[in-house]
């Protein structure tokens, strides 16, 4: 039985760039250089490792985003994914996690899947709820926040390192998995991989293709509203001293003055 893996990836503004909000208080995706979210590279890596351990797997990378988001898909294809699906529609602008997860779920169903793999969160919105939302919407088991994952005999297993405990999890396929940055370093695309990626198919879908109404998504369809976004005032410059032998004692004095000691 073939194993169809769909990896959800996001094209995000680079964290080292000047990230900001646009006039409509959505994330500015035009004026800041974007890239494949670092946390999604781990998802692509685990998908490839699962696929490489067998001979009947196919890895599809899926994104919802503007035209430039194809860069994220090409990166994943150059790492070794087989094909890509790009959901792009002007009406998607400003979607919240509810809208985005709706579109992803419909696109996953249309593509066909046995295993969905996502990163633990995006590096821009960083809500970290899309994998759980996908499991709920698709009606399949949620096996999330894994630092180790394996698939065999139609079952996905993994280790989840929580705050209070480490859990071993197990669920039958189909299922939705998310992996953390502890799951294993993502590979760099090889030159051959980059060349091959140029020829790999990228299917483009819009809302009509997914039977989604414009009112269900985008800024208007969002179930949340950002009323204000303000740049955090820069922290006022504090005191910086050079240790001349009593730096520790002077610091203790400062902390005592602030009532920490």
């Amino acid at each position: 039985m073939a194993l169809r893996i769909v990896v959800c990836v996001k094209y995000v503004p680079g964290a080292t760039g000047d990230r900001r909000f646009a006039d409509d208080l959505t994330v500015d995706r035009d004026d800041v250089d974007g890239l494949l979210s670092e946390l999604d590279e781990y998802a692509v890596e685990q998908a490839l490792q699962i696929a490489e351990a067998r001979d009947d797997a196919e890895v599809t990378v899926l994104t919802v985003g503007p035209e430039d988001a194809e860069d994220a898909l090409r990166k994943a294809l150059s790492m070794g994914a087989d094909k890509a699906v790009h959901v792009e529609d002007d009406d998607l602008h400003g979607s919240d996690v509810m809208g985005t997860s709706l579109v992803l779920a419909k696109a996953i169903e249309k593509t066909g899947y046995d295993l969905v793999i996502a990163g633990m969160a995006s590096t821009d919105g960083a809500a970290g709820v899309v994998p759980a939302l996908l499991a709920e919407r698709l009606g399949v088991p949620q096996v999330t926040l894994l630092s180790e994952v394996s698939v065999g005999d139609g079952v996905v297993r993994g280790r989840r390192d929580g705050d209070a405990a480490t859990e071993q999890l197990e669920a039958s396929l189909p299922a939705v998995v998310s992996v953390t940055d502890q799951s294993g370093e993502a590979r760099y695309p090889s030159f051959m991989g980059i060349m091959a990626a140029k020829k790999k198919p990228v299917e483009s879908l819009d809302l009509d293709d997914l039977d989604i109404e414009a009112e269900e998504v985008g800024l208007e369809g969002a179930w949340t509203k950002v009323d204000e976004a303000a740049e955090r005032p820069a922290r006022t410059a504090g005191t910086v001293v050079t240790d001349e032998g009593a730096g520790g004692k002077e610091l203790a004095e400062f902390l005592a003055g602030q009532k920490f000691v």
Binding site: R19, F21, L25, D96, V97, M98, M120, T123, A127, G128, V129, P131, A132, A135, E136, R137, V140, Q142, V143, T144, S147, R157, D161, D163, A164, A165, T166, E167, Q168, L169, E170, A171, A175, Q182, A222, W223, T224, K225, V226, D227, E228, A229, A230, R232, R235, G238, T239, V240, V241, T242, D243, A246, G247, G248, L251, L255, A256, Q258, F260, V261
Partner: protein, 318 residues
């Protein structure tokens, strides 16, 4: 006054601090009704009542421990239907966000995650969030359904506000998907004896500069009753467990005092700590970006400065 559902994070009946902070926020928008699930659920009632819970709905069943997330979503949904609250508030950790998100889809409501403050507003609760590595602050609200909001640790003070806290049994019928993901083994995390990183009032962190030796920062942490954090570089080098990583891909902390030793302050690290109230850094490199954030910085060798600081604190404590 409208009721507000508060999901309780507890370990065998011991309520974790962020839930008590959540009760403080809940009282700003209504009367808190707590929902406690699993082993020891009823034992949470006294502490929840002390902090403002008017009712404590409890349910226990093997499913809560044996299967991931969904049984808890089923129970929270049952509580939602029974109470018809004005809002649903959920504390960290990560599992809380997953439970909240799935509930929100089911009840067709918007969700706001990782709020750092919450106040009543004319059109429902207004949540403050930090964005882009805490370089922006946003205010948002939910425009569809019953607001479902998850809150970060240290978002409010724990306040005593005695209320009835009457325990009521919550009747839960599990959905077909409840047993989808089996927990086949669980190993409780070993306690370091120090405060939980995300909940601590003081965090002492170390990075590349400690060169593998966390003993000096652990000693400082213990003199202050602080939690120990680590930069990604220190964790990647294998010097300290990932559970202590502060930053974009680790924990986000917002303590009263954050002491960074031997941490340069890359954007990935700042994302996890720059909302701390007071920031102190010790670093050899006067040009390190961490010094842009500090209230007090020492340019110097941390192996000189930190032990001297620890000794001075211990002396002052007598």
């Amino acid at each position: 006054m409208a009721e507000v559902l508060v999901y309780v994070d507890h370990v065998d009946g011991a309520v974790r601090k962020p839930t008590l902070e959540l009760l403080t926020l809940a009282r700003r928008i209504g009367e808190p009704v707590a929902v406690a699930l699993g082993a020891g659920a009823a034992d949470t009632a006294a502490e929840l009542a002390e902090h403002g819970a008017t009712r404590v709905l409890t349910a226990d069943a093997p499913e809560f421990a044996d299967y991931l997330v969904v049984p808890k979503v089923d129970a929270l949904q049952a509580a939602y239907e029974a109470v018809q609250p004005a809002a649903v508030l959920v504390p960290p950790p990560a599992e809380g966000k997953e439970i909240a998100a799935r509930l929100a889809v089911r009840i067709k409501s918007g969700i706001i995650t990782d709020a750092v403050d919450l106040e009543a507003g004319e059109e429902g609760p207004v949540a403050t969030q930090s964005a882009f590595a805490a370089s922006y602050t946003t205010k948002s609200r939910i425009t569809q359904g019953t607001p479902v909001i998850t809150v970060k640790p240290n978002s409010a003070a724990v306040e005593a506000a005695p209320a009835a806290g009457a325990v009521e049994a919550l009747s839960v019928s599990f959905s077909p998907g409840a047993t989808g993901t089996k927990v086949t083994a669980r190993t409780p995390r070993e306690s370091s004896g120090r405060p939980e990183l995300t909940e601590a009032a003081i965090v002492v962190s170390a990075g590349r500069g400690v060169n593998g030796d966390f003993a000096v920062v652990e000693a400082l942490a213990d003199s202050l009753g602080a939690a120990v954090g680590a930069s990604r570089a220190a964790v990647d080098a294998g010097w300290y467990p990932h559970a202590h990583q502060v930053g974009q891909t680790g924990k986000s902390v917002s303590p009263q005092l954050y002491i960074a030793s031997g941490i340069s302050g890359a954007i990935q690290h700042r994302a996890g700590m720059q909302t701390s109230k007071t920031i102190v850094a010790i670093n050899k490199d006067a040009e390190a970006p961490i010094f842009d954030l500090v209230d007090y910085g020492v340019v110097g060798d941390l192996f000189e400065v930190v032990p001297q600081l620890t000794e001075e604190i211990n002396t002052r404590k007598g």
